[in-house]
């Protein structure tokens, strides 16, 4: 360990320190808003560290040749790929903290604990995307999950408590399954680092002992089950609607965006780096899970009457679309189109879903209800939130000019490119189905009595407005001028591919 290792981990370290600082500040500062501002402004520190790391990685012109920097004896690694997710998590976190300001003001939730847990969870996520061996992966994953379980139960009502406990149990269960899978992988490869696993399995497959092959297969399947829970993919999706319905909506926003993104990052790194050389066609598994997630998520969403449950199923469906990109990677080993399509989709989805859920959070406070039917006439009550929700719903259908439109084309192109035409067709058909329930929500908001007086009686704070405007603007920006983000995603993907070669 030397000073450079600390520098390479500085974003993670600083955000964990910020979490503790926020909790301490809450003890001495009475004004909630001041604590919120400390957490928010404090985010600049990890951001600056991450930016400086990007510039240090960019020293070499050919990014593909920039391998990962190993940290703390291969416990962690640093690459553009992990930094890409650091920025995604930091961005989502900043927007969620901004968007929580009204919730914190009105609900009586303890501010310091709320923000501290969010920051802790974010530090876990940022560690997870660069964790390089099984132990650090597991610890980072738990650090990600446990604060989120606590946050799910924050609302002090039956539903929220239920969702917190449900989330905790499901996480524990999936972690246990995953650990079991890791044990198999470790046993058969003799290494706990991803690079070592890759080498170990490559030599293991040379002496073709049948039990070893089955052992690897079993390990991969157990890992897939564990990750499936985190990804909220079918058939491991049952907890999603319940947790979404009961948890505080800003927490749902963070959960659905950041937690899901880093889970995808973990899957990409684990299956691509660690198990990259294994001669198993587990891509078929991903393709199947993808098709199932899209179809089941969309079909079940149709009959939902609660907007948060609807978004629970919608997130399952979107996990399916993204998994189509994951399945596409594994078909063509040296291509990064599938990988970068996943990275781009995650950002586009994050922007759209944050817009939607933060708007839903405000609307829920306004109406005191999350029933879709109670949204009637919303355009009159709160035009600002209505426009925001319309933009995000249009984006989630995949209608231009929004980021997910480009993202879907990108993902499906990757799928077709690797011979998964059937998966792309299922995805396209599913997009048609999804239009039905998203548009229904839009329709309800514009329905209703025109004699209603404009009662913008919720004081949507300037912070929340800012967060919604920013995320909606990113959604539209990614649809109109996607080039920059596409190139960034490709760089990040290349940096991971370069790591394998």
């Amino acid at each position: 360990m030397n000073f450079n290792d600390i520098y390479l981990l500085s974003p993670q370290i600083s955000i964990a320190a910020l979490a503790i600082l926020t909790i301490l500040a809450d003890l001495v500062i009475a004004r909630k808003k001041a604590v919120l501002l400390i957490a928010l402004i404090g985010l600049i520190i990890p951001l600056v560290f991450a930016l400086s790391l990007v510039s240090s990685l960019h020293v070499s012109q050919d990014v593909a040749l920039v391998g990962p920097s190993s940290i703390l004896y291969s416990s962690f690694s640093l690459s553009l790929f992990s930094l890409y997710f650091n920025f995604l998590v930091l961005g989502a976190l900043a927007i969620v903290i901004l968007g929580s300001s009204d919730y914190l003001r009105d609900s009586g939730v303890p501010t310091g604990e709320y923000l501290g847990l969010l920051l802790l969870s974010a530090s876990g996520m940022m560690l997870l995307v660069s964790a390089e061996n099984l132990v650090t992966i597991y610890i980072a994953l738990e650090l990600t999950t446990l604060p989120l379980a606590a946050l799910s139960a924050f609302s002090l009502n039956g539903k929220s408590t239920e969702s917190g406990i449900k989330f905790l149990i499901v996480s524990a269960l999936s972690s246990a399954v995953m650990l079991y899978g890791m044990a198999f992988i470790y046993g058969l490869s003799g290494s706990i680092t991803l690079g070592g696993i890759s080498e170990g399995l490559a030599s293991a497959s040379l002496d073709t002992m049948a039990y070893q092959q089955y052992g690897i297969l079993l390990g991969v399947i157990l890992l897939l089950v564990g990750f499936g829970f985190k990804l909220s993919a079918v058939p491991f999706h049952m907890w999603v609607p319940d947790v979404y319905e009961g948890s505080p909506t800003p927490v749902v926003a963070f959960l659905s965006v950041a937690s899901k993104s880093v889970a995808f990052a973990l899957v990409l790194r684990f299956f691509y780096v660690g198990l990259g050389d294994v001669d198993l066609n587990w891509a078929v598994l991903f393709a199947l899970i993808s098709a199932l997630s899209m179809t089941v998520g969309n079909l079940l969403a149709i009959s939902q009457t609660n907007i948060k449950r609807l978004f629970g199923y919608s997130t399952i469906a979107h996990a399916g679309y993204i998994l189509a990109g994951v399945a596409a990677i594994s078909y063509v080993g040296d291509s990064y189109i599938g990988m970068s399509s996943v990275l781009f989709y995650l950002v586009a989805y994050a922007a759209a879903n944050l817009t939607a859920l933060l708007a839903i959070s405000q609307i829920g406070e306004l109406l005191g209800s999350d029933d879709i039917d109670s949204y009637a006439g919303l355009y009159k009550k709160t035009p600002f939130l209505t426009v925001a929700l319309v933009i995000s719903l249009i984006a989630l259908i995949g209608v231009p000019p929004t980021g997910i439109f480009i993202a879907k084309i990108y993902v499906f192109t990757a799928a077709v490119d690797s011979g998964l035409m059937w998966l792309a067709i299922i995805g396209v058909i599913n997009s048609v189905v999804s239009a039905y329930y998203y548009v229904r929500v839009i329709r309800v908001m514009f329905r209703g009595d025109d004699r209603l007086k404009e009662t913008d009686n919720i004081k949507t704070g300037i912070f929340v407005k800012l967060s919604i405007v920013v995320s909606a603007a990113i959604t539209v920006w990614l649809g109109i001028m996607p080039s920059w983000m596409l190139e960034t995603a490709e760089l990040a993907a290349v940096s991971l591919v370069g790591l394998v070669n």
């Binding site: 231009p400 990108y410 192109t413 077709v416 396209v428 039905y436 329709r443 025109d450 080039s483």
Partner: protein, 515 residues
């Protein structure tokens, strides 16, 4: 690579900017109306400029007013922001501008949520303009999709009758078509290399798309595109969304729907299916012809049975759009193909836009005043509404193809062209004109003439503002009827290169011309 003329970008995005101004501006009816009128009028002027400045000389380049900018340049997808017009699209831009201002003028009486209404109408205009001017497949698809939500909102909020049902039906049908097109575009990206999405390079390659192997054959892509455009056009048996959507949409939305949005389907067929698939369009022309003839005859027969004025006009659109398909099928001629049928199809797009737009405006005016569209409850309307009566007469005669009006020109061209390829089927299609005479004249007789029922005693004729769009369309119908070459020459210049590609490819395939 990058060049920028700016005229088309302005034409396409001016309405969207207007929509943004209305959105951010005060919630004031007068303000919204004022912005909408001025934007639509300016856009009409821009459209006239595009059409008027379009270089018609022989030495002019095929695609003009190019705005070209690299849009997406990832390794998987290469797409350009590429706007431009050729002889095929320039008149359609003019049509969109014309119907845009007419639709806004016809909407001034709307009192329900005026602000929102004009936002959606103007977004619609941007979407349609974009479809007609994009020369990049992905950009084309983007504009194609943008139209969905505005149209859905217009039908479900400002419509009548079973508007929720009709709106959702419209949405699901259209988005299903888009899904087919999306799959086709993925196929293009996969099989056609770096210039897959650039229409100009494909259209000017002299042989359409590159040949492909495997499951994604050009025929599959051809049919996927065809389904998307056939739903929009609409072609029997994919037409069932249209009568519902038209009937329940507000007047201005019907005008745009019939006037320009159906034309997106016809335009797509001409631009992509004919232009980019020269071999497939020839071998599958008989299918198009059959579907076209069925649409013409089936649409005509069903129209005869309608008692709702709006439904009647809607079904007559099915019949008339069938003629577009018949005209396109003229490329199925086994020997030298000439441009007549395609020009007829393109002309039919334009003339049907003005004629049906005019009919919908008139029906809307009658409905606003009489509060009924049921023909048995109407009668003698022309006594109280002479201006509307005259407008319906002109539009009706144009619709049934009376010489001297624009409908005649397009129909005669379509039949001349198609007869070369499919004589018997063309003769059957001509029967559609007889049916048109039947339903139009019968409708005019029952609704406009006869005795005026008592409940219609206080009918009011179109006022000054309402007469302006009527007049604009009547002028265009008569001018094109008397002097068709103002349009046909332009259409010819755009379609001639496509026809020569088709002839070239068929010569190569029959072995008469070496490769």
């Amino acid at each position: 690579m990058n060049e920028f003329n700016g005229l088309l970008t302005a034409t396409v995005f001016l309405p969207a900017i207007g929509a943004l101004v209305i959105l951010l501006g005060p919630d004031n009816r007068l303000f919204s109306r004022f912005i909408a009128i001025s934007v639509a009028a300016s856009d009409f002027v821009l459209a006239i400029l595009v059409f008027g400045l379009f270089d018609r000389t022989d030495t002019a380049s095929r695609f003009q007013f190019l705005d070209q900018w690299v849009w997406i340049s990832s390794d998987a997808i290469k797409s350009t922001y590429l706007l431009g017009v050729d002889g095929l699209s320039a008149p359609l831009v003019l049509l969109t501008g014309l119907l845009g201002i007419c639709a806004v003028l016809a909407s001034l009486k709307i009192t329900l949520r005026v602000k929102q209404y004009f936002i959606w109408i103007l977004l619609l205009q941007t979407s349609v303009m974009g479809v007609f001017t994009s020369l990049d497949v992905l950009l084309f698809f983007l504009f194609w999709e943008v139209e969905l939500i505005p149209m859905y909102m217009l039908i479900t909020t400002w419509g009548s009758g079973r508007r929720e049902y009709s709106g959702m039906k419209f949405l699901i049908f259209t988005i299903a078509g888009s899904a087919a097109m999306l799959v086709a575009i993925l196929g293009l990206i996969l099989t056609q290399g770096d210039h897959a999405l650039n229409m100009i390079s494909t259209l000017e390659s002299g042989s359409g798309l590159l040949p492909t192997t495997g499951i994604i054959s050009l025929s599959v892509l051809f049919w996927l595109f065809f389904v998307a455009f056939a739903i929009k056009l609409p072609v029997w048996p994919l037409h069932t969304w249209l009568p519902d959507a038209h009937t329940d949409a507000p007047t201005a939305a019907s005008v745009i729907l019939a006037g320009v949005m159906l034309k997106m389907g016809g335009y797509g067929l001409l631009r992509i299916n004919v232009g980019m698939f020269p071999e497939q369009i020839q071998s599958f022309a008989w299918v198009l012809m059959t579907l076209g003839v069925i649409s013409v005859i089936y649409g005509g027969i069903v129209t005869l049975r309608q008692t709702d004025l709006k439904r009647l006009v809607a079904y007559s659109s099915v019949s008339h759009m069938g003629l577009v398909l018949v005209g396109i099928a003229s490329v199925g001629a086994s020997y030298y193909v000439n441009v007549t049928g395609l020009t007829g199809a393109a002309m039919q797009l334009f003339t049907h836009g003005t004629i049906t737009g005019l009919l919908f405006l008139c029906v809307g005016l009658i409905y606003d005043n009489a509060h009924t569209r049921s023909i048995p409850q109407l009668g003698g309307v022309a006594q109280r509404m002479p201006i509307v009566g005259i407008a319906i007469l002109i539009a009706g005669f144009g619709s049934l193809g009376l010489p001297g009006l624009s409908g005649f020109v397009s129909e005669i061209l379509v039949f001349f062209g198609a007869f070369m390829a499919f004589p018997i089927l063309t003769v059957i299609a001509v029967l559609g004109i007889v049916l048109a005479a039947g339903y139009i004249l019968w409708m005019i007789q029952r609704a406009l003439f006869g005795t005026l029922p008592d409940h219609l005693a206080d009918l009011r004729d179109a006022d000054m503002v309402e007469s302006v769009p009527l007049l604009l369309m009547i002028v265009s119908i008569i001018v094109i009827g008397l002097y068709p070459s103002v349009l046909t020459d332009v259409f010819n210049s755009g379609l001639e290169p496509m026809v020569s590609v088709i002839n070239n490819v068929s010569l190569i395939n029959t072995g008469l011309l070496g490769n």
